[in-house]
């Protein structure tokens, strides 16, 4: 039904590309900032900005073009060595990069761009650009003159001549480039002679229309520098065989005969080259090119994930029916099925890998947060990242952004002392905030640490008492005190600063992490800093669960929430009040919850003697014993969202599909326990199914 606007699609893919370009821009800037003055690094930065400018021009995003242009001019100065890299310049370059990414984002969302956003930085860029008095060597396609001082004087007299040999590969055409346009652009630079070499053209029966068989030899007489000529081919780099050589033999003499003979000799020289190895250069190129990637719609990946989920279920059903027929395990069918099972699992793993992405983009965003928040409060902060190539599910990355932003701000604002205090404590003036990621036993561990003063525990306790979170005379261990930071309604900032105090506390951070199936912990050493450790599942798509039965319904309880399973004896059960029960477990009392009642599936059992219970233990310390009818087994289940298709169901985290094709609900024990403690009247509740 949806009509697709090709222009909108191209625009969308431009913005996706922008994100990649901004990423490499950040990388390059960081390398520059750490003292890497490799010309290629500067080139990468320059090219990223240039490409964004080019694309923006095509879509008429004038403000973006304007800003990118002045940015590019400064970078060009750096590239040519005329502008020296100073800490001030680096700051400007970083800042400009941030603004550029803001502009890209605003343009993408069609939001208005406030002049104040770019003004100051724009002026600063122009100042640097102006002082370097830099000449712009590139061939501009479509934009406004900028009123910069260009100096063409020393170039005006010179005539350069280049011999360009150009052999496009098939990819050049599939990526929407067209040699004719390139030649036209070249022709704008000066006099051009084009010779086409069609010798590689096969007879028509053998022709593959997707292949390019033609190559060209061009002779260009121009005022422009070689770099300007190279820039024309910038966007087809890697998509063609390209050679640009100075034509030394032939100075541009006015009385020289027409240029054809020259072109012929050159094309003759070129022919054997392409004749001896018609396809070899193409292969060599692809080997040298960076790791090829494809951009795929996330929806398609999700569909694939779903299909593989189906495959796993089907395979389970097949195994079940084959074992039901009584075929011996040594038979060919059984061994073939085993192989099938292994393959299915491999496919499932590979599909899950598609969703995984390096966490780098998130870390880069955090580096900006550090720059901005440290500048806002005048602290000198060094941001260190580690393991930025660690891969994690894309959804996890997206949903980590907010909690991480908050924690990084906290580290800069509260974690680190002021510069003066640091010096007084005998530390280097510059504080360090470190963000690291690593894979450990099937989970991703992310650490946010600072080398600040550590948690001020007496102050934390005092605040907790003031806010009524703990009683005045409570004795707390250090770890318990630290964990008070996660309590709802706790914020250590005595005054609400610009950075923190945005209405989110660490309790929100913790619940965000928990909703991703993660855990967060805190460790602090007075005087030497605080470390937050987040542990996350690799993917949100599969989970270890225990399959149980309640009122004839199969359900799944997340394995990581189950501490142990018990069969109750009369001695284990204690009654409290008219209808509350407690389970005695190693001399502690745990509230007993009948899962069938909590879910509204059936009435309470008359007696819980002999009942099977799951002892649930949560990280926030809450415990409960859930009565279930039977325990089936323990297995890995594929998680299917329920909220998107139906809405939130109390006590249910998600759904999954079992081996018989039926949907089973994945329970959320924390939610069940907290709902139960609200004290609903169980006997009056309506029942979805009759007991």
């Amino acid at each position: 039904m949806t009509s697709t606007d090709p222009m909108a699609e191209i625009r969308a893919s431009f913005f996706i590309e922008c994100e990649e370009l901004l990423e490499s821009l950040q990388d390059g800037l960081e390398a520059l900032g750490s003292g890497d003055s490799d010309p290629e690094t500067i080139n990468i930065v320059f090219r990223a900005v240039h490409s964004i400018k080019g694309g923006a021009g095509a879509f008429g995003l004038d403000q973006l073009v304007e800003f990118a242009h002045s940015y590019e001019t400064v970078l060009d100065g750096v590239r040519s060595g005329e502008t020296e890299i100073t800490p001030d310049l680096m700051r400007l370059l970083f800042q400009s990069g941030d603004i550029l990414s803001d502009l890209v984002r605003l343009s993408r969302d069609d939001e208005p761009i406030e002049k104040s956003l770019t003004e100051a930085t724009y002026a600063a860029l122009k100042e640097v650009a102006g002082s370097s008095d830099e000449e712009e060597p590139e061939a501009d396609i479509d934009f406004q003159p900028m009123g910069l001082a260009f100096d063409f004087a020393d170039l005006a007299e010179e005539k350069n001549a280049f011999i360009i040999t150009f052999k496009p590969e098939a990819e050049l055409f599939t990526s929407g480039n067209e040699p004719l346009h390139l030649f036209r652009t070249l022709a704008e630079l000066g006099n051009i002679t084009v010779t086409c070499d069609a010798s590689a053209l096969p007879i028509i029966e053998d022709m593959d229309i997707a292949q390019g068989y033609l190559s060209w030899t061009l002779r260009l007489e121009t005022d422009a520098e070689k770099t300007a000529v190279q820039e024309v081919f910038e966007f087809v780099e890697g998509l063609c065989d390209l050679k640009i050589e100075d034509d030394i033999d032939l100075p541009a003499l006015p009385d020289l005969a027409p240029l054809e003979p020259v072109a012929e000799t050159v094309s003759e020289a070129i022919v054997p080259l392409s004749a001896t190895a018609p396809s070899a250069p193409a292969e060599a190129k692809t080997a040298a090119a960076p790791k090829p990637t494809v951009r795929v719609d996330l929806e398609r990946v999700d569909r694939l994930v779903n299909l593989v989920g189906e495959l796993v279920i089907n395979q389970a059903m097949l195994s079940q029916s084959i074992s039901d027929t009584g075929i011996p395990g040594s038979s060919e069918i059984a061994t073939g099925l085993e192989e099938f099972m292994r393959l299915t699992r491999d496919i499932q793993d590979s599909v899950m890998m598609i969703r995984a992405q390096p966490i780098k983009s998130l870390f880069q965003r955090m580096s900006r947060i550090v720059r901005e928040s440290s500048a806002a409060i005048g602290k000198d902060v060094k941001f260190v990242t580690e393991g930025e190539n660690t891969e994690i599910d894309k959804t996890v990355i997206e949903r980590l952004s907010d909690p991480l932003t908050h924690m990084i701000r906290n580290a800069v604002d509260h974690g680190l002392e002021s510069n003066a205090d640091r010096v007084a404590a005998g530390k280097p003036e510059q504080g360090i905030v470190k963000l690291s990621a690593i894979h450990r036993s099937g989970r991703v561990i992310i650490e946010i640490s600072d080398d600040g003063a550590g948690i001020n525990r007496p102050k934390v306790q005092q605040i907790a008492i003031e806010k009524g979170l703990i009683a005045k005379d409570t004795q707390l261990s250090d770890a318990e005190t630290d964990n008070l930071l996660f309590a709802a309604g706790f914020s250590t900032a005595t005054e609400v600063s610009n950075l923190s105090g945005r209405g989110v506390g660490m309790d929100v951070v913790r619940s965000a992490i928990q909703s991703l199936g993660g855990r967060i912990s805190i460790a602090s050493t007075p005087g030497s800093g605080t470390t937050f450790t987040i542990s996350l599942p690799l993917t949100l798509a599969v989970m270890d669960g225990m399959v149980i039965n309640v009122a004839d319904q199969a359900m799944v309880v997340p394995l990581n929430s189950i501490a142990e399973t018990l069969a109750l004896t009369q001695n284990d059960i204690e009654q409290l009040g008219p209808n509350k029960h407690l389970v005695r477990n190693r001399d502690t009392f745990v509230p007993l919850l009948d899962l069938g009642v909590e879910l509204g599936y059936r009435h309470a059992l008359p007696s819980y003697e002999g009942a099977v219970v799951l002892l649930i233990s949560q990280e926030d310390g809450s415990r409960a014993a859930l009565v279930v009818d039977t325990i089936q087994d323990q297995r890995q289940v594929v998680i299917k969202g329920l909220e998107e298709s139906y809405g939130r169901v109390p006590g249910v985290a998600a759904a999954t599909i079992l081996g018989d094709g039926q949907i089973a609900l994945i329970l959320d024990p924390t939610d069940i326990i907290s709902n139960a403690s609200l004290g609903a009247a169980p006997d009056d509740a309506p029942f979805a199914i009759a007991g």
Binding site: L307, Q553, L599, K640, V649, V652, A688
Partner: protein, 155 residues
Amino acid sequence: MAEMELIKETGDVELLSFRISEQEYSLDIMSVREIRSWTKATPLPHSPSYVRGVINLRGTVLPIIDLSARLGLEKSEQSERDVIIVVHMFDQTVGLLVDAVIDILAVPHNEMQQPPEIGTDTGPAFVNALTLVEGRMIRLLDLASIMPRTEGKAA
């Protein structure tokens, strides 16, 4: 909204008609994705009585609404011949449980009538329009009022 324009142009509305408790209802066929035979649904806790639960639709979770319960009609006997009509609207896909699918009808747009107002009925208006086909009254359902979104959140 392009769909509505299309209807005006051609002058006909295509409807899928089906039976619920001896009454004939219909839906704009553009919102119908597929028709499936009944499979056992997994009940959802704390859900409204007309939500039968969820079924596995090729790997996705599909909520099932019992239309007769939703419309406040007498609950029909559950039978193997019951049919699930999968509809998609407002970015949401749900299955509607009905007794049987009857026909696909093309009804001229101008033959659709507003349902008459009766007394001070304050309940949700599930029926958008009425029309006559071969002497039978066909009720056109208002999908928006049937979707369980708000109820699902409130439950």
